[in-house]
């Protein structure tokens, strides 16, 4: 199966003295759900931002949907790649849900009718149909997260990439469950950076552990999250789900 993301020897530094990412190589297949975990400051968000094209001065090679990640391809790539920010309010800058979700399609030249159809479909996938006309600032945290995802889905349909930075932060249990269900239903390839290891367990079959600028583990989520030693060596702790084995 052809990869939708191909990363070769990615290196990145903010300041000349220290490389935050120092030689990362991996590939993601269409529809795959990959968790990105690691201690604070290890570079999870940086990694996602590089893939989104928000930090263009990287070293190495990145290909997304067969396009090399460079400025001249940003338009094409961003048609297929979406980024869900940790702070949803920064991402939802129109006044109502449907206006915001239609923002991407209209910018990419969809006609009004096509845009409306995409919006409807995207809201359906995220269970937000009833909130189409609602003002953004009246949405709950969970609803904002879903609105942000809908905005991405409206543009890329099913065959793209969705990057999520700390998606479960400040969500109450019900919204969290809802988000997990929505993410599981998305056909796009997904990269989720999160501290919430239980959330990663519920949404990603594959997980990458970053530490010291490198990929220390890349494989099955369950096996990683059970490995107390490996987690603790890299600044993490066992997720709650795995502390009480009887519950699984």
């Amino acid at each position: 199966m052809d990869s939708i993301i191909e990363i070769e020897d990615l290196r990145f530094c903010y300041h000349a003295d220290r490389y935050v990412l120092d030689g990362i190589s991996l590939a993601v297949t269409p529809g795959e759900s990959v968790g990105v975990i690691g201690a604070n400051g290890v570079g999870k968000s940086t990694f996602l931002k590089i893939l989104a094209g928000l930090l263009p001065e990287y070293e190495g090679s990145i290909r997304i949907a067969d396009h090399l990640l460079e400025k001249k391809n940003y338009g094409e790539i961003r048609r297929r790649l979406g980024y869900v920010f940790q702070d949803s309010d920064s991402q939802l800058f129109m006044n109502t849900v449907e206006e915001d979700v239609a923002f991407g399609p209209l910018n990419y030249g969809f006609s009004r009718e096509e845009a409306d159809r995409s919006v409807k479909e995207a809201l359906r996938k995220t269970h937000m149909e009833g909130l189409a006309g609602r003002h953004i600032y009246r949405l709950s945290g969970g609803e904002k997260k879903l609105a942000a995802i809908a905005g991405i889905l409206a543009l890329q349909q099913d065959d793209g990439v969705i990057l999520m930075d700390e998606p479960s932060v400040s969500l109450d249990p019900a919204n969290r469950e809802n988000l997990i269900e929505v993410i599981r239903g998305l056909k796009a390839a997904k990269l989720l950076a999160s501290h919430d290891l239980d959330f990663i367990y519920d949404t990603c079959e594959r997980t990458i552990l970053l530490s010291g600028g490198e990929v220390v583990y890349d494989g099955d989520t369950k096996r990683l999250l059970r490995d107390k030693t490996l987690l603790e060596e890299n600044g993490l702790r066992l997720p709650l789900s795995f502390r009480f084995p009887g519950n699984i």
Partner: protein, 267 residues
Amino acid sequence: MAKLGRAIREIHSLENLAERNTFFNRIHPTAKVLVTIWYLILVMSFGKYDVTGLFGMCLYPLILMISGDISIGQAVRRLKPVLLMVFLIGAANPFFDRTPVLEAGGITVTAGMLSMLTLFCKTGFAVFASYVLIATTTMEQICYALRRLHMPQILVTVLLLIYRYLVLMLKEADRITQAYMLRAPGEKGVKKSAWGPLAGQMLLRSMDRAQRVYESMTMRGFRGEFFLRGSFIPLRQSVFYGVVWCLVLAVFRLVPVFELVGRIFIR
């Protein structure tokens, strides 16, 4: 700082009003904006002693408020911000202008009183007319109207963004000041040592947010234009509404309608 909480509630209440599905809400916003401006120009063009003529202009806001179920009490409350300045300026008139105009029932009405009255009436009518506009038209629709009236795109975009983030900022300011008050009981405001840090931190966070907004806009292909839309009653109905009101208002400006009607009953 109860101001912040009140501001948030005011925005919510206006949006609730403007989002109703009444006839006036569905008139094309450009028509409503133009009628409002025309009304304001006509009202302000009345001479300072023309009380009876001016009085006739009360019908526009009155009819719209009653037909559109808009609370007159709320409209009166909106006089608050401009009341002080207008009152101080207007109340001076009877003192400085004591030319007698007419005697009625033993009371001498002076020119100063008349000019004060017209000033107050004009203030009230203007505030009510603006209230009627914003109570039947959402901010997005007003921006749509402004765009149709050829206001530059950049200004409309900035307007929409300010409005979008306004409630967020008001809530954040509210939280920050509440947190401050909890640790500084008895103080009515932010003291000097906290002037810089309190507002400064909020400012820096706002700039960071602006950076993120910019990033998410570019991620979704922003090219400098916000696409606005609306669903209104058929255009010719809105045009008819606009033309009729403009003509009626012009008639009331040129012709002393009230006086003519009154003369029918008084010889």
